[in-house]
């Protein structure tokens, strides 16, 4: 498509702006065309196309990688909402492949097995925008410094246990609030302690928010989980295994969408919570040995 030469693609504004459009919405993990259509019908703002939801990755073990391009393209053809796909931490060649498929957003995700235990992907080099996970403010700012255009809490994916997402959202929020209360000459040490670039720390201290959209992810399974995360300051919600590992996915998907929009209205969240059938079974994060916790991946 030939456009005016003055048109600029892949600018920070275009990448971050895409995430702004997802705000107040729910992004759902889907493993096939049928699930993608259910998600779109339920009002999802985007779908994450992957071969196995985190609960199955956890159960089956082994090395988990980027999905088959055929599977991703089938989902792109089936829905009109944005399609996201995951790549392994640091695996820039998987990211090149996903970009060539014209996927709308890449999740450089700890849910897959990391490909590089030192470096994340240099995301500035890509036209496609990236979302990355974070457990605290320093980690979020390091990812933004590498070019992430959207951040999500890591939570503990595939568990249905929301406690880690809560911890991460509270941590990021409290660290931002702490920065806003500091004297300007204290921000240098704050940057050192957060292990984050001073310029980003200064920006957050001045604005009181991340320079990119902040979603929540990891263990969200019910409408009330979504409402709590929104009240803790999330701009929107990722639901992974929570929907399609439950008894009535279509109904639960629509219910989480409703609760995410009307998160301050307990009556609507209550109505959305009625008769949803069985929730995903779930695993307590505390029962997972530390080496098997996905949130520990990435640094």
């Amino acid at each position: 498509m030939s456009q005016n030469s003055s048109n600029e693609v892949g600018t920070a504004r275009v990448k971050r702006g895409m995430a702004e459009m997802l705000k107040g919405g729910v992004i759902m993990d889907v493993v096939n065309v049928e699930q993608a259509k259910i998600a779109e019908d339920a009002g999802a703002v985007a779908v994450m196309a992957l071969e196995r939801v985190p609960a199955d990755i956890r159960a089956q073990g082994g090395v988990s990688r980027m999905s088959d391009p055929d599977m991703i393209e089938a989902i792109q053809a089936a829905v009109s909402i944005p399609v996201m796909a995951k790549v392994r931490i640091g695996h820039f060649a998987e990211a090149q492949v996903i970009e060539s498929l014209k996927v709308d957003y890449i999740d450089e995700s700890e849910v897959l097995t990391p490909a590089d235990y030192e470096h994340h992907i240099d995301k500035w080099k890509f036209t496609i925008p990236f979302v990355c996970g974070a457990t605290n403010l320093g980690e979020a700012l390091r990812r933004i410094n590498e070019g992430a255009a959207m951040i999500r809490s890591k939570g503990e994916a595939g568990t249905g246990d929301v406690s880690n997402a809560t911890t991460h959202m509270r941590k990021i929020g409290s660290e931002i609030r702490r920065l806003t209360s500091m004297r300007e000459d204290e921000l240098y040490v704050a940057a050192k302690e957060l292990q984050a670039p001073y310029a980003l720390v200064k920006e957050v201290a001045a604005t009181g928010k991340l320079p990119v959209v902040l979603f929540t992810a990891g263990g969200i399974a019910t409408p009330a989980d979504a409402a709590m995360m929104m009240q803790l300051g999330a701009d929107g919600v990722f639901v992974g295994s929570g929907i399609f590992k439950s008894g009535d996915p279509a109904k639960r998907a629509a219910a989480v969408v409703k609760a995410t929009t009307y998160y301050t209205d307990p009556k609507i969240v209550a109505d959305a919570s009625r008769g949803l059938g069985e929730a995903m079974v779930g695993i307590n994060v505390a029962d997972i040995p530390v080496p098997h916790r996905l949130a520990e991946r990435g640094w």
């Binding site: 498509m1 030939s2 456009q3 005016n4 003055s6 048109n7 600029e8 693609v9 892949g10 600018t11 504004r13 275009v14 702006g17 895409m18 702004e20 459009m21 997802l22 705000k23 107040g24 919405g25 259509k37 779109e40 019908d41 339920a42 009002g43 999802a44 703002v45 985007a46 829905v79 009109s80 909402i81 944005p82 970009e99 014209k102 996927v103 709308d104 957003y105 036209t127 496609i128 925008p129 629509a254 969408v257 409703k258 929009t261 009307y262």
Partner: protein
């Protein structure tokens, strides 16, 4: 004058900030009584399928459609343009529009996110140089009726596609002035449409 910003989903906060920059205090609205009480409405960028479905589920769809057809000033950006169209090409199942503009829109007309772009646009009725326009998985106007005024267009493969249109009190852009920080588009809506409708 009370200007509401539909807050079901999308970048409604950026529209509220844009209004503030024009000296207008906007209201985030998502309940029946809130929408009934505003004098003008902005439909933000977001996912048009999600906004349309939520509006139906919560019984807001007819209210918004009726208020638009009875002359309430309304501005839609991107998803908002889709929702103000008469007809959507290739809609998602169950996706309907409020109407108000006699236009047919094509969703994701410029392509996928990797094709999203920003550009300078000449905008009829806005002075002080071109408007900085951010297009994100944006729609364009495929065809339109005689009463629709074209305010800005984009050239693609030597074809001109309208990206800013107005019909009476209904106004829409394919792009996101609320993201670019160029508040002249919101000022146009307030000064040229809302203020005049009040008289």
């Amino acid at each position: 004058m009370k200007v509401g910003v539909l807050a079901l989903q999308g970048d409604f906060r950026e529209h509220l900030l844009s209004l503030e920059n024009c000296g207008v205090t906007g209201l985030a609205v998502k309940r029946h009584d809130e929408i009934s009480q505003v004098d003008a409405l902005i439909i933000p960028g977001g996912e048009s399928t999600t906004i349309s479905k939520l509006a139906k589920t919560f019984g807001l769809f007819e209210l918004i459609r009726d208020r638009i057809s009875s002359g309430m000033p309304v501005y839609g950006s991107c998803a908002g343009m889709i929702l103000l169209s008469r007809e959507i090409i290739d809609p998602a199942s169950g996706q309907d529009s409020f109407g108000g503009l006699d236009i047919v829109v094509r969703r994701n007309a410029f392509g996928k996110q990797v094709d999203s772009f920003e550009s300078d646009l000449d905008f009829k009725g806005i002075e002080g140089g071109p408007v900085r326009a951010v297009f994100i998985r944006a729609p364009w106007v495929e065809s339109h009726g005689p009463e629709v005024e074209i305010l800005a267009s984009v050239q693609v493969s030597n074809l001109s596609h309208p990206v800013a249109v107005r019909q009476g009190n209904v106004f829409a852009t394919s792009f996101h002035p609320e993201i670019s920080g160029d508040f002249r588009v919101h000022k146009y809506f307030i000064d040229q449409i809302c203020s005049k409708a009040q008289k």
